[in-house]
Symmetry: C2
Subunit: 388 residues, 2 copies
């Protein structure tokens, strides 16, 4: 069942609602758990955790190459940091959530979908829909990187560009969704609204658990995780995963979750610093934001996100573009090539140590959400500016 | 020791020769073996096979995120094909060979390097050199994809563009190499000449052995492998890996190796169809070649390559650009987004079945050498042409 986070109404999954008629978003009515005996060794990638995912038949699920993403340990200004480098099949962490969402919708009989995206989720849903032979339309802001647009079209999806900010693409998709809320044909498969997506994304944290806690040579437990945050699915994913692991008796606590926004669009950070219980909308930023993937003016799961971060004893940070660019170049010079959106998390590391949020010797994981190959022209601009 | 394939002379590795003074290339004087008990479970990616690699200390090796690449099974015109999708840290299979070559050179005390490349090997060596803090210059043809050039520069390497065909970049690098053959400073770290690179690349075939033969649910043995071939490192890699596995008692035979070239530059194919023992040079192709990564007019290990393919009972094929483009789009519509160079291998599948080189029911692995994100403008051109 889908349970509304606003009015508490419950609906069958088969009704294929993307949100509650009251306007609020859904969560799932069941909780999951995970421990070493629940890992499904038939699979090598995130399908290993299918017993903690909202999907009935992992074997029949459409797959496009889900191996573990690497966890690379590097020295960052004297601290040993474990970087979770999300080079998944379509090039970003979005594959985790989209794989679960799209395969669940497929189990529920969906025939065609559309979705709004800043680019990476769109590329991911286009890739999975191609493999599933489900027609797909992706609605993106006009400013979306060329690399992402070409990828979406190569997968055979219809690409619709909407002038204006990221929120204009959402409004277009949601507007259509309001007029056709309950149909198998052409449903609004919104990664940001979908509770399936939220659970799929949590597999990043299951993987670090297996890579750190269950590794033959380590048995480390992360003290802190640092993630970029637009809608906050990576932060909520960490919270879901470690909650599942606690329920499964596999770990004792949730690591502190640090969610990092770009300072030009930081509604979550604003709410955090003002001690709010929910996240008020902000106006779209003027001009280009270097971290294009996390420009979200309306945070759908704001209340849950703030609660998860608070209960983990973490925090929210906002990072300016210059620090993000410096972090991107510093990562590349360690051999980790990422898009600017990923670099915001790395850019927060120094501040987290200097403010003593993270103490020397703690086990820290920083998530790098996507490959630098996604945003060649942006990175070229950065390099050109530095040469002048 | 390094043993010359031309005159048979042997040199210490510490002499850091990139080729024999007689002009021929080197091989290593030792053979390796592999079997399940030799897998090093401290590692998850290709460092698992370090006991069969020419490297002394895998633990200290510089790493940038070496997980297994995915093996994805798809239906291709009625046949079940296992696609080995090489989305490694820098986006191509070159990381396997470069990781081993660069780390071995590092063990031997090398202080700075240069290399010629059509782009992917250059991006890879730039990435590993960044992580190893070894200054690096990459010499590429002027026509190299922007995505690869930006990536090389982001890693902090010096990018030198040479007008003319791919061979002009090689001539520049080799010319410099002839004038300074024996120096720790600024050595010619040529992936095409290096025997370390050749052994690193073989890990792709160790992985399919583990993914197919040792998987809990399968125990399949590949009957045939299909790879794109420029210098032929993937084909030789398959031959090395399965030879090591035979020596280790892990498998009984080498799969048939099918090496696929683009028809606009196909010296290996010419030699094969003419029944030669070595590969004569060809003239650089006129105009753009869609499979830019395998345009090689001079094949360094031609004799070994022909011998390996013959002894495996495989063959060499040449595929025209139109078939390559069709295969690229067909792969994308299965959720596998690759660069054109990768698509030549997939384009050969139909011909291999229709000519009965491969029989229905055989276990077939097709290697996809790199991500489509490497060549956004090329793929955009392809999409634009199809729309007209």
């Amino acid at each position: 069942m889908l349970v509304c986070n606003g009015c508490g109404s419950a609906y069958k999954e088969e009704e294929l609602l993307w949100r509650c008629p009251c306007g609020a978003h859904f969560s799932l009515d069941k909780s999951f758990s995970m421990n070493p005996s629940m890992i499904d060794n038939k699979y090598r990638g995130f399908w290993r955790y299918n017993k903690a995912l909202p999907i009935e038949d992992a074997l029949s699920a459409v797959k496009i190459g889900e191996e573990f993403s690497p966890l690379v340990t590097k020295n960052w200004n004297g601290a040993n940091i474990h970087f979770k480098y999300e080079i998944l099949p379509t090039g970003s962490y979005k594959d985790r959530g989209i794989a679960v969402m799209l395969n669940r919708l497929r189990e529920l009989g969906v025939k065609s979908v559309y979705e709004d995206s800043s680019g990476n989720a769109g590329a991911s849903i286009a890739g999975y829909c191609a493999a599933a032979d489900i027609p797909c339309e992706v609605i993106v802001p006009e400013s979306t990187s060329r690399g992402k647009c070409v990828q979406i079209e190569a997968y055979g999806a219809t690409l619709t560009k909407i002038p204006g900010p990221r929120s204009a693409a959402s409004m277009e998709a949601e507007g259509r969704g309001r007029n056709s809320e309950n149909r198998c044909e052409n449903i609004y498969a919104s990664h940001n609204w979908s509770p399936y997506f939220a659970h799929g994304v949590k597999t990043w944290a299951f993987e670090i658990w297996e890579q750190l806690c269950l590794a033959p040579s380590s048995e480390l437990m992360p003290d802190a995780v640092v993630v970029p945050a637009g809608q906050g699915s990576l932060a909520l994913g960490a919270w879901h995963a470690f909650s599942d692991l606690i329920r499964g008796g596999a770990v004792a606590k949730i690591p502190r979750i640090y969610a990092v926004q770009g300072s030009s669009c930081s509604p979550l950070y604003n709410a955090w610093t003002n001690g709010l219980e929910n996240v008020p909308d902000v106006a779209p930023p003027e001009g280009k934001c270097i971290a294009e993937g996390i420009v979200s003016t309306h945070i759908i799961r704001g209340a849950e996100l703030l609660q998860a971060i608070r209960s983990s004893e973490g925090a929210v940070l906002a990072i300016d573009d210059e620090k993000t660019v410096n972090a991107l170049l510093k990562l590349a010079k360690m051999g980790l090539y990422v898009e600017p959106t990923s670099a915001v998390a790395a850019a927060a590391i120094d501040e987290l140590y200097s403010s003593k949020c993270i103490l020397p010797g703690e086990c820290v994981v920083v998530l790098l959400s996507s490959s630098g190959l996604k945003t060649t022209p942006y990175i070229q601009e950065i390099l050109d500016e530095r040469k002048i």
